[in-house]
Symmetry: C2
Subunit: 504 residues, 2 copies
C-alpha cells in the first residue's frame, strides 16, 4: 500500500556486504529496524531504494544477527553498483509502487495476445530491474512454448533492441553469422570472418564463452589472440581489418536478454519466440544488416528434428524481415562433432589447419565454413546466386583468408600458436564394427571432465566419425589433461558411461 | 554435471549469518573458496548441502568481502534450521543432480496434460525444497489460467494432501466452512462454529490472519480469546467443546501450499486449479468430511461475476467429490462490507452482538451466518433438507450458541470483551443522495491506514450501506485509531480518495 506521507524517516546508512547475487538487487535490513516495523516489510518483500536521482528495486533479506548495526542497510554488489553507493552513504527505502506490466503476463496466461506497447512495458520493467527473479520466471514461462504469435515475437525483438545500446558503423552493410548452439567442435566463425573480411566486407563478430560446452568461440579464439576487447578496441580492429572475433560481453547490446537468459538457463527452458528475439535483437543492436544462421539438427543437439528446425527457420526469417534484417537460415547436419578437436586449444588447431590448407585439415569443418560463407556472400549480394561457395573457396585456397586471420589476431593484440596439454591417453575400442551413433552431449562431457574450457589445452581429439569401420583396439579418441588427477578422473567416467559412441 | 568423485574436499565450516530469506535456502561462499573454484559454481547456482543424513538444496550467493573466513560457508536461517546446524558444524557441498520433474513443467507449457504421478513428483520436489523460487514461479505460471484439467486439479489436490501431516479425529464426521476471500467484515466463522458445536457436531476450525485485509478471522478471534494453539491444545479444546476457532499455522497440513502461496502472492496470480487444490487439500488434511464454501461475488471482491463464480463452484464440487469430501458451494452477495465493524476488535463486537441476540446486531452478518450454518447442517445430514436454517436459528436465538462460544473461548484460554480504540472521528457526507456503490478494497484500506490489524482496536464502523438515503452531514463511517498521528494520516487519505463510497 502506498502511504501518502513524507519518507524522511526511511533513511539508512549503506553497508557494502560484498555479496554477489548476480543481477538481482538485494537489501539486508535488521529485523528490529524502524523501517521494517513502520512499513511492515516482510522477508523477500520488494522495496524501492533511492539515492539522489538513482533508484532501484530490491528484494529484502531480513537479518536477525548482529551482521548490521542499527541504522544500517546492507546492499548486494549489484545494488551498490546500480545505486553508485559506497559504505556510509545514505539511502532511502520506500514501498514499491505496483508493477503495472504484470497485468500483461496475467493476460498472456489467460491466452490473450499482447500488444506491442504491452510487451514494450514488460521489457522496460525488466531492464529497470523492477521484476524479481520470480516475476522474470513467470514472464518467461507465460511466453514460452508456442504461446507467442509472430507479431508478439516481432514486438519482443523490437522492445529488446530499444532497451539497450546500438552500435553504428560507417559501412552501409555489416554481415554476421550465428549458430543455434549445441554442436561440439562447430567452430566455423574464425574461418568465416577471415574469408569475409579478406574480401573487403565488414564482419565485426562477437561471440560467447562456453556455458555448458567444452569451448565457446570466444574461448577458442582466446587461445590464439586476446578477445576481451573494449568497444573502442573492437571498432579500431574492424576499421583496420574489416573483421574481428571478440568476446561479446560488456557492450550492453541487449540488457533485457542478459537478464532473461540467466532465468531461462535455470529453468532449462528454450522458447522459440524468446530465442529468436534474443538472437535477432543482439544482431540488430550490433549493427548487422545481413545474417546467416547455422542451424544444426540431430538427436543430441538443441534441434532434434527437421520439422522443428523448419518451423524455427520460417519464423526466424519472418521476424528478421519485419525488423529489417536480411536473414537466411541454413539447416545443417548435427549428428556428430565437427572437426577433430574438442576444447579451446584443440579446436584452434583445427581452425588453423583449415586456414593453412593443411592436408590433414578436417574436411567437415572446411566444408561447413565454405558453405556458410558462400551463403553469406550471396545474401549480401557480393556474389551472384550459386557463386558464393566458389568465391569463398578461392579466398581460402589462396591463403588470403589465413593472412587476414593472422592480421586480425595481431590487431587484437598478437597471435599465439595453440599447444597440447601435458597428459594424454588414448581411448580404444573394445569391439569391432561400424560407428552407429555419437552422443554429442556425452562426448562434450568427456572434454569438460578433462578440464576444458578452464584448462584451454585440455579436451580430446576425436577419431571415430559416423560410419567408420572400427577394429577392436583402434583409437576412438585421445584425451588431453593438464594433471594426472584429471586424467584418472575422466577415464573413470569413460569406463562408467557405455553410450558415448555406439559401434555395431 | 555429476562428478563421479569422492566428495571429501567439499567440506566447510558453518557460519550462521542470521539472514532470513524465508523458505528459500541460501548458502554464502567466498569467491576464492576452493569449492567455488574446483566445482565451477556461479552465483545463484543451486547446490546440494549435506550434513549427516540431512540434505537440502540451496541457492548460492557469492561473497567478495571478508564477511566469511576461508573454509567457512554462511547459511541463511532456513538453511540452518533445515540442516539442524549451528556455528562451527561441518557440512558438505556438492553439485545438484538434475531436477527431473521440471520436464513436466516444460510439457505443460507445451500444452500437454500431466499424469497424476508427474504432478506428484513436482509436489514432492517442491516440499523437499528442490525448487528455487524461479522454478516455483514457473510451475505456478505454467499451471495457471485455465491450463489445468479437472483431472489435473484432482491430482494436485491429492499430491498436496500426501505431502504433509493429516489430522485424525475420533468422530466419523467433521464439518468445516471456508470463504473464498475478499469481503470485509464477513466474519461468520465464530458464529457458525458456536451454533454447530452447540448442536453436538465437531467443527475444529483453523483460520488465517489478515494478509491484505484489515482483519483475518484469527485476528478478530484473538481479541476475544487466545488463538495461537498447539495441535494438542486444539485437540483438547475440540474434545471438550466440539469446536474451536484457532490460528491455522504450524500444523504442516499442506507444506506444498505454504511454499507456493508466497510466490502466488508475489505474482498476484490466483489460478482456479491451484486455489481449489490449496483449499481442499488443507481441509482434507485437517480431517474434514463436510465442507460449505462461502463464495461472495461483487465488483470489488475476488470473484467479479456470477459466471466466474459458477464455473469455480462446479469445478470445486467436482474435485471435492473426487477426493471424498462432501462439499457445497454457496454463492453470496459481495457488493458491500458485512456487519458494521472493520478491524479485529470492531468486528468482534459485531460477532458478540449477533451471538447475544442484541437488537442492534447487524442483520446481514446474522443472516449470512444462519444461511451457511443451515447449509452445513443439511449437507451433514443433521437437518433434513430445507430445515437447516430453522435449526440454526433456534440454537442462536436460545442463547445456546453464545453459551458455547464463551465455553470455547474459556477452553482456548479465557474470554476478553473487545474495546474501542482511543481516538475516533466521524466521516460525514458532503452531499445528499442514495448510496450507489461501495469499494470494498478502498474501505478496507481506510481501516488498515487507521492501524488494523496491528492495532486490534483500530478500524472503522460503517453506517452507509447500499441504497441508504444519505443527507449532507450524515455520518458515513467512524474511524478509530490508537494515536492522533494515525488519525490525521487516515483522514488525509479519505480527503484524497473520492471513490470510496459513491452517492448519487
Amino acid at each position: 500500500m502506498k502511504k501518502p506521507q513524507t519518507k524522511a524517516i526511511n533513511k539508512l546508512k549503506v553497508r557494502r556486504l560484498g555479496i554477489d547475487t548476480q543481477k538481482e538487487h538485494v537489501a539486508y535490513l535488521r529485523a528490529d529496524s524502524h523501517v521494517i516495523i513502520s512499513e511492515g516489510f516482510e522477508a523477500l518483500a520488494r522495496v524501492r531504494i533511492n539515492k539522489g536521482k538513482l533508484s532501484i528495486v530490491a528484494s529484502l533479506h531480513i537479518v536477525h544477527s548482529r551482521l548490521l548495526s542499527p541504522g544500517e542497510v546492507g546492499l548486494s554488489e549489484m545494488a551498490c553498483s546500480s545505486l553508485e553507493v559506497e559504505n556510509g552513504d545514505i539511502i532511502e527505502i520506500t514501498h514499491l509502487e505496483p508493477i503495472e506490466s504484470l497485468a500483461y503476463i496475467r493476460a498472456k496466461i489467460y491466452g490473450k495476445t499482447i500488444s506491442e506497447s504491452g510487451i514494450s512495458e514488460i521489457v522496460d520493467d525488466v531492464v529497470k530491474g523492477n521484476y524479481s527473479n520470480v516475476h522474470l520466471s513467470s514472464f518467461i514461462t507465460a511466453f514460452a512454448g508456442d504461446h507467442m504469435s509472430s507479431g508478439e515475437i516481432i514486438s519482443l525483438t523490437k522492445a529488446m533492441i530499444q532497451s539497450g545500446n546500438r552500435i553504428k558503423w560507417k559501412q552501409k552493410t555489416v554481415v554476421d553469422k550465428h549458430c543455434i548452439g549445441g554442436l561440439p567442435g562447430n567452430r566455423t566463425t574464425p574461418i568465416i570472418v577471415s574469408i569475409i573480411s579478406s574480401l573487403g566486407l565488414t564482419i565485426p563478430k562477437t561471440s560467447s564463452r562456453a556455458i555448458t560446452s567444452p569451448a565457446g568461440t570466444a574461448d577458442t579464439m582466446e587461445v590464439m589472440a586476446p578477445v576481451n576487447l573494449s568497444m573502442e578496441k573492437i571498432k579500431k580492429v574492424v576499421e583496420k581489418e574489416g573483421g574481428c572475433i571478440a568476446w561479446g560481453s560488456g557492450a550492453n547490446l541487449s540488457p533485457a536478454d542478459d537478464i532473461l537468459i540467466r532465468i531461462e538457463r535455470a529453468l532449462d527452458l528454450d522458447s522459440e519466440g524468446q530465442l529468436i528475439a534474443s538472437v535477432l535483437s543482439k544482431k540488430i543492436a550490433a549493427g548487422s544488416t545481413h545474417l546467416v544462421v547455422d542451424m544444426p539438427v540431430g538427436d543430441t543437439v538443441k534441434l532434434r528434428s527437421i520439422e522443428a528446425a523448419n518451423h524455427l527457420k520460417i519464423l526466424m526469417e519472418q521476424v528478421g524481415h519485419a525488423v529489417g534484417l536480411k536473414l537466411k537460415v541454413i539447416i545443417t547436419d548435427g549428428s556428430q562433432p565437427v572437426g577433430i578437436g574438442l576444447g579451446p586449444s584443440l579446436e584452434a588447431m583445427d581452425i588453423l589447419a583449415v586456414l593453412r590448407n593443411e592436408k590433414n585439415a578436417p574436411a567437415d569443418l572446411r566444408e561447413r565454413s565454405l558453405l556458410l560463407t558462400g551463403e553469406l556472400l550471396e545474401l549480401h549480394g557480393y556474389s551472384k546466386n550459386g557463386k558464393g561457395y566458389e568465391t569463398a573457396s578461392k579466398a581460402l585456397n589462396s591463403g588470403a583468408a589465413y593472412k587476414k586471420f593472422i592480421a586480425i589476431c595481431k590487431a587484437q593484440g598478437g597471435f599465439t600458436e595453440p599447444e597440447f596439454a601435458k597428459f594424454s591417453c588414448d581411448v580404444v575400442s573394445t569391439l569391432s564394427g561400424i560407428v552407429q551413433t555419437i552422443d554429442n552431449r556425452k562426448i562434450s562431457r568427456v572434454a569438460k571432465l578433462a578440464g576444458a574450457p578452464d584448462h584451454p589445452r585440455a579436451g580430446l581429439r576425436f577419431f571415430s566419425p559416423l560410419g567408420k569401420n572400427i577394429k577392436k583396439g583402434d583409437i576412438l579418441y585421445t584425451i588431453y589433461t593438464e594433471t594426472a588427477g584429471e586424467l584418472e578422473y575422466v577415464l573413470q567416467y569413460v569406463r562408467m558411461e557405455k553410450k558415448i559412441i555406439i559401434i555395431k
